[in-house]
């Protein structure tokens, strides 16, 4: 394995790991705050219990996100010192702003987690709101950096150095807005779907448990809305790519020839040697229509660029298909949820949770889709930019460190992250098993029971 490949693998692994925790850190606080606001409004204790349970999950996942994010900020230099030497001054501003957002998130999360009895209820809710706003802000700022790597602006090159640097122009690079919208919505949709899947699974076995019913309702509203909105933001990105990053668009569509009225390919396996994408279902004029909103528009194919500038076409194309497939499936689930809830409203006279077993089962199956889509989408934007680290400006091979034996940190961090992933999954499963059982009896009174785990333990002790 070359050191360049080891460095790329370590960066990909670190980002692929961090992005999950970062996304949860953006979205789970929103669910938590909604639950707390509903508690303050309705005085239904179920909501408070729910906010507290979700807060525990947030605490675990945020801690892992915080440390894996620290690793990334160092890895920028440990793996790509020439990149940072060139770009640090240009893109430091959004990084600094992200730092502040992260600061605010950490501070208010601490107040939220440890302050249930120390600060007045309104302040506590405010702390939660700040956590969720700061989480979204830090994601939005850091995506600006990635946007700049995809569409670099705000400087000139003179003698290999960046001059006339305008950090604000660099921060507001053309890729920022479409990418930030897409990533932020993705974080909400993926997290809400994962949460909905978990509670749907538990609800299937424990049909009257208000804890899971309330949880599922909140997750479905957030997940459904964002999943339905996401294809719209996808369209924004497609048009941005068509104008600003045509090389990436050609790769993700497996489009080798420049043509007018280009078809949209569903599936298919791009072949860089024959410069064709066989086995695809082609929808005539589809790509021109989607990318330029004009069926006759010309789409640039990879033939416009030298072979040395091709990204790994097959990887990017397949990752793109996976992302779109997952996204569409999630949007469909969102629409179905909306229809079912609306039918319930028609029938019962009020909005009510769709709890048909088949629907719950669908939600369980849909639970991982959002995170698969995030990983695939991240692959599209990162691998699609290769062989450049700064599109058209600096090649990844020029940016890599001269430090040898990079397989050693790669293997070390991979093992550590596998261990962390294992522990996190284990701890979350424990949290799920400890979900309280809250039911409403015939008189309409709510009783809080013990968790499934506690009941199992009691049964075991009785034997």
């Amino acid at each position: 394995m070359t050191d360049l490949f080891a460095a790329r693998s370590q960066m990909a692994m670190s980002l692929g790991f961090h992005i999950i925790f970062a996304a949860v850190g953006v979205a789970l606080p929103l669910l938590m705050v909604i639950a707390e606001a509903l508690w303050l409004k309705t005085k239904d204790e179920t909501y408070r219990t729910l906010a507290q349970q979700w807060a525990k999950g947030t605490a675990i996942l945020f801690a892992v996100g915080a440390v894996s994010g620290t690793v990334l900020s160092f890895e920028l230099g440990l793996l790509w010192p020439r990149f940072m030497d060139f770009a640090g001054a240009i893109i430091g501003l959004p990084f600094a702003l992200e730092g502040f957002a992260f600061f605010v998130e950490a501070i208010f999360l601490a107040i939220y987690l440890y302050g249930w009895k120390r600060v007045p209820p309104a302040w506590h809710l405010f702390a939660g709101v700040m956590v969720s706003l700061a989480g979204a802000a830090s994601a939005i700022f850091v995506v600006s950096v990635n946007g700049w790597m995809n569409s670099p602006t705000g400087f000139r090159i003179e003698g290999g150095k960046a001059v006339d640097i305008e950090p604000i122009v660099a921060m507001f690079n053309p890729a920022w807005v479409p990418e930030a919208i897409h990533m932020t919505i993705a974080a909400y949709a993926a997290t809400a779907f994962a949460v909905a899947g978990v509670h749907a699974f538990l609800l299937k076995r424990d049909h009257d448990n208000l804890f899971h019913r309330h949880a599922l309702a909140i997750a479905l509203v957030v997940g459904g809305i964002t999943a339905i909105l996401q294809p719209l933001s996808g369209d924004l990105n497609a048009r941005h790519l068509a104008h600003q990053q045509p090389r990436k668009l050609a790769a993700l569509e497996g489009q080798f020839k420049t043509e007018k009225g280009a078809p949209l390919r569903i599936g298919g396996l791009p072949n860089e040697k024959t410069r064709e994408t066989p086995y695809a279902l082609e929808i005539p004029y589809g790509l021109s229509l989607l990318a330029f909103h004009d069926p006759q528009a010309e789409v640039k194919g990879l033939e416009e660029w030298p072979k040395a500038d091709y990204p790994p076409v097959a990887v990017v194309h397949i990752a793109f298909q996976i992302m779109v497939g997952c996204g569409m499936a999630m949007a469909a689930v969102g629409v179905v949820a909306l229809i079912l809830a609306w039918r319930n409203r028609h029938r019962l006279g009020r909005w009510s949770l769709p709890d048909q077993t088949w629907f719950l089962r669908t939600l369980v199956l849909a639970a991982p889709l959002g995170f698969i889509a995030i990983e695939a989408g991240w692959t599209v934007t990162e691998v699609g930019r290769q062989p450049f680290i700064i599109a058209g400006i600096m090649r990844t091979a020029e940016a890599v460190t001269l430090v040898p034996h990079l397989t050693i940190p790669l293997i070390t961090f991979t093992l550590v992250y596998l261990f962390l992933a294992f522990v996190v999954v284990f701890l979350l499963l424990r949290q799920f098993r400890q979900s309280p059982r809250i039911v409403r009896d015939r008189a309409g009174d709510i009783t809080v029971g013990e968790s499934a785990a506690a009941r199992a333990k009691a049964a075991g002790d009785a034997d």
Partner: protein, 348 residues
């Protein structure tokens, strides 16, 4: 003195302000984040009839604040690569190995602390996470100190933007390790002093008072060792510590603060001791930073050469100013809730 003031005031205001913010972040990371590591040291060394109570106090003390305190480190890194990119590139190349080890420590410290809190509360599991937390709390500052020591040696050589002194030589030496130990003990000392204020129970407070006094002695001995070793190992910093006009006044003030902390601990003025200990650490770092001047990474990377152009520093400083408007009140509120006079007393 006049030469120094003239030189410093020749720096553009934006560069000077950026350096000031970077230095402030370093001090805050040391006195806040550093003390969290120190807490881990005392977790590892918890002993006597109150070992369990000691660990519980440490957990309560750092639980709500460690993540916020940790952000100062990220803030420093971001500011370094934004405002002084060549320095960041050189440091992360020459110190690749100790920095990577430090990162592993950071990852394991943070996660094991959190996992301990949310995993099963039976003794075996709790202790296993606690052990990992404590060991990584010792390991991480050691690596941080090694990096600081390596910078101080002036052994990181850079030509045309490429590190020429290799990946081992600058840090794999006795002096950086001595600085590593010094940093570790300094953090442990800080933590012990803070814990005397935060302990509720008289006996527990006495435990940490003893620990603070002992570690203060060790810090003194290590400071002397590092100072003596610097003659050979870090001549440039040594000269900065002894031969500049501000050198001796600063040393004397630092000494007065150190003696004051000891005296306050001895006479059980714990709040005063906390203030003086923070001052002591800030003064030690001030001495180090002034001794490095005019370099960021001696002998090849100076402040003026490494600084990003003013049209970069200005918007970044504005960004920081706006950020601080939100950050400062939030941070003060956090510490008021959890570290205020009655903060610890209100049971969670």
């Amino acid at each position: 003195m006049n030469d120094f003031v003239r030189e410093l005031s020749a720096l553009p205001l934006s560069t000077l302000l950026t350096l000031g913010v970077l230095f402030a972040a370093l001090v805050l990371y040391a006195v806040l984040g550093g003390a969290d590591y120190g807490g881990g040291v005392w977790d590892l060394l918890a002993s006597g009839p109150r070992a369990g109570e000691q660990r519980r106090l440490i957990e309560t003390a750092i639980g709500p604040v460690w993540e916020a305190n940790h952000v100062w480190l990220i803030f420093m890194i971001v500011l370094l690569f934004t405002a002084f990119p060549p320095a960041f590139a050189a440091l992360s190349t020459a110190l690749h190995i100790p920095l990577t080890l430090m990162l592993l420590g950071i990852v394991l410290r943070g996660t094991s602390f959190t996992f301990r809190q949310y995993d099963r509360q039976d003794d075996t599991v709790h202790r296993r996470w606690g052990r990992l937390f404590a060991i990584s709390s010792v390991f991480t500052p050691l690596m941080l100190g090694i990096c600081i020591g390596a910078i101080s040696t002036g052994g990181i050589l850079v030509q045309n933007g490429f590190v020429t002194s290799g990946f081992l030589q600058p840090w794999l030496a006795p002096f950086p390790f001595a600085v590593g130990l010094f940093a570790l003990l300094l953090f442990a000392f800080l933590a012990a002093v803070y814990l005397t204020v935060e302990a509720e129970d008289e006996a527990l407070r006495e435990d940490f008072r003893r620990r603070a006094l002992v570690s203060a002695g060790v810090v003194g001995a290590l400071a002397l060792t590092v100072y003596l070793m610097s003659q050979e190992a870090a001549p440039l910093v040594r000269a900065g510590l002894t031969q500049r006009p501000w050198s001796w006044p600063l040393q004397i003030v630092t000494g007065v603060f150190a003696a004051g902390t000891l005296g306050a601990l001895w006479r059980r003025h714990f709040h005063l001791a906390r203030v003086l200990a923070v001052g002591q650490v800030a003064l030690i770092l001030t001495g180090w930073a002034l001794a490095l001047y005019p370099f960021l990474v001696p002998p090849d990377i100076s402040i003026t050469e490494a600084a990003a152009p003013l049209n970069v520093l200005r918007p970044v400083l504005w960004g920081i100013a706006i950020g601080l408007l939100i950050l400062v009140p939030s941070l003060l509120y956090l510490f008021r809730v959890f570290k205020g006079r009655n903060g610890v007393r209100k049971v969670v």
